[in-house]
């Protein structure tokens, strides 16, 4: 059983060294344009191609392709099957298969959805694979995110390995005591509470200790805090973030206008 702790791939390339906010704004702007921009294909393909370029510069193309396949392959297969065979808008018959037929409209619809999903996935991968989660949290805090919210984003990443280890211990302990995890439906339902409850109770017991530890270390103090790492930022990146934001806003507005005037 593997619980992944991060998609981050360490590296020293130009893309890795970009400020986290720059990459965050890129992936958000790309998602907005892919799903909300005018025109169907172009708005999806251009941000996706740019993200592939970024991943290539970061030396992560191979890993990204594996991720995309792993996350989207089953979905793609089902999309083409369901919409090719059963999309209610199917008019043009491509292949006849007994009582069913494969329709062109459904296939085109499925292809558009797949292209959009691939584009949005590579855009977010170009961000998450090259950015250490801790650096993202720090960047957001420096940009004015309340410290309590920053804690909520960062702390689960640190708690996760610890609790994931406990999952296995509790599973093993309950099975050693004779808990039936196989068998008929009723037996499996009865095993649910003994598996889940001890884990949740023990996690909740930690909550009090954690909050005391935080308070003792001045978590609620309002004085400014010093960070060990410094995130390099450049004026050019600052401008780039604004340009990307404005471009996305403009294309979203254009997309609304385009849809209101008969675009799909």
């Amino acid at each position: 059983m593997l619980i992944p702790h991060s998609l981050y791939q360490p590296g020293e390339t130009l893309v890795h060294r970009l400020h986290p906010l720059t990459k965050l704004v890129y992936s958000l702007a790309a998602a907005a344009i892919i799903f909300g921009g005018p025109g169907m294909w172009l708005s999806a393909i251009l941000p996706g191609l740019l993200a592939i370029l970024l991943l290539w510069r970061a030396g992560l193309t191979g890993r990204a392709v594996i991720m995309v396949l792993r996350l989207l392959a089953p979905l793609t297969l089902v999309l083409f099957l369901v919409h090719g065979l059963f999309n209610p808008q199917n008019q043009t018959i491509l292949i006849q298969l007994g009582p069913f037929f494969v329709g062109q409209e459904g296939l085109a619809f499925a292809a558009l959805i797949v292209v959009r999903l691939i584009a949005v996935l590579v855009s977010s991968l170009s961000f998450v694979m090259t950015t250490h989660p801790a650096h993202l949290v720090q960047a957001l805090e420096e940009a004015g995110l309340p410290r309590r919210l920053a804690y909520l984003l960062g702390s689960p990443l640190l708690i996760m390995p610890q609790l994931a280890g406990r999952v296995q211990a509790i599973q093993a302990a309950q099975q050693a005591r004779g808990l039936e995890t196989q068998g008929n439906l009723l037996m499996r339902i009865r095993a649910l509470f003994p598996l889940v409850a001890p884990f949740i109770f023990s996690a909740l017991v930690d909550v009090e200790e954690r909050s005391l530890a935080l308070e003792v270390r001045g978590f609620s103090a309002s004085t400014p805090k010093t960070s060990l790492f410094e995130l390099p930022d450049t004026p050019a990146q600052h401008t780039a973030r604004w340009v990307m934001f404005l471009l996305a806003a403009f294309l979203l507005a254009a997309g609304f206008w385009w849809r209101a005037n008969g675009g799909h």
């Binding site: 059983m1 619980i3 992944p4 702790h5 991060s6 998609l7 799903f35 996350l71 089953p74 979905l75 089902v78 999309l79 369901v82 065979l85 059963f86 999309n87 209610p88 959805i113 959009r116 999903l117 996935l121 977010s124 991968l125 998450v128 989660p133 993202l136 309590r148 804690y151 909520l152 984003l153 689960p156 708690i159 996760m160 609790l163 994931a164 999952v167 599973q171 995890t181 439906l185 499996r188 339902i189 095993a191 509470f193 598996l195 889940v196 409850a197 884990f199 949740i200 109770f201 996690a203 909740l204 017991v205 930690d206 909550v207 009090e208 954690r210 909050s211 935080l214 308070e215 978590f219």
Partner: protein, 198 residues
């Protein structure tokens, strides 16, 4: 009580640490239940626990952040469903606030309400972003309904509700049972817990 005071009370340090642990529970617990091969995933049990102990706002934020963090560490597609997780927290919190989590049968009703609430958000996301399919076994039902002449939207309504109903009812029941089983000295630290325990 002014909004600022209410927010301060709702987001005390102990509530924040509870939310952080709940986010991890949401992500990790699915692995435990997959062992039992039941049609449930329990990926919102932490959110519902926060809803019962700390109210709708803290729970909504827990759900939202769960999916954003999930997107960050393992599956960017999960981030697309962050608004759904937010609604789950909000709905569960409101159910608890209005006394729908006092008895076990009320928890079942709350589970149904949560399912209906999340469907309002989940259905447009599934239809518009994912073409109505998810790559899971539920797609057979979508395909069947499409083949019998339904449109995509109503086919997805059926699969989303069918997919979530059992899971959310079990989640609500488990969360209710766990909050009932927590020691008083623990629940007393959360201002909202009395809506469930008393």
């Amino acid at each position: 009580m002014s909004l600022k005071e209410q927010l301060k009370k709702d987001f005390s340090t102990i509530t924040l640490t509870l939310m952080a642990v709940a986010i991890v529970l949401n992500i990790v617990l699915g692995q435990v239940v997959s062992l039992l091969k039941l049609p449930i995933f329990l990926d919102s049990i932490g959110t519902v626990l926060v809803a019962l102990l700390a109210g709708p706002w803290a729970a909504a934020l827990t759900g939202l952040l769960t999916n954003l963090i999930w997107g960050l560490i393992s599956d960017p597609v999960a981030a697309a469903f962050a608004p759904v997780a937010l609604i789950i927290g909000l709905a569960a919190g409101l159910c608890a606030k209005y006394g729908l989590f006092k008895k076990w049968w009320q928890a079942i009703i709350s589970g149904v309400i949560i399912t209906l609430a999340l469907s309002i958000i989940a259905i447009p996301i599934r239809v518009y972003m994912f073409g109505g399919v998810t790559g899971s076994g539920a797609d057979f039902i979508t395909a069947y309904l499409l083949a019998t002449g339904r449109d995509l939207f109503s086919a997805v309504i059926v699969t989303v509700i069918g997919d979530n109903l059992i899971d959310k009812v079990v989640t609500a029941l488990l969360a209710w049972g766990i909050v009932k089983g927590l020691p008083k000295r623990f629940t007393a630290r959360f201002p909202r817990a009395s809506a469930v325990t008393e």
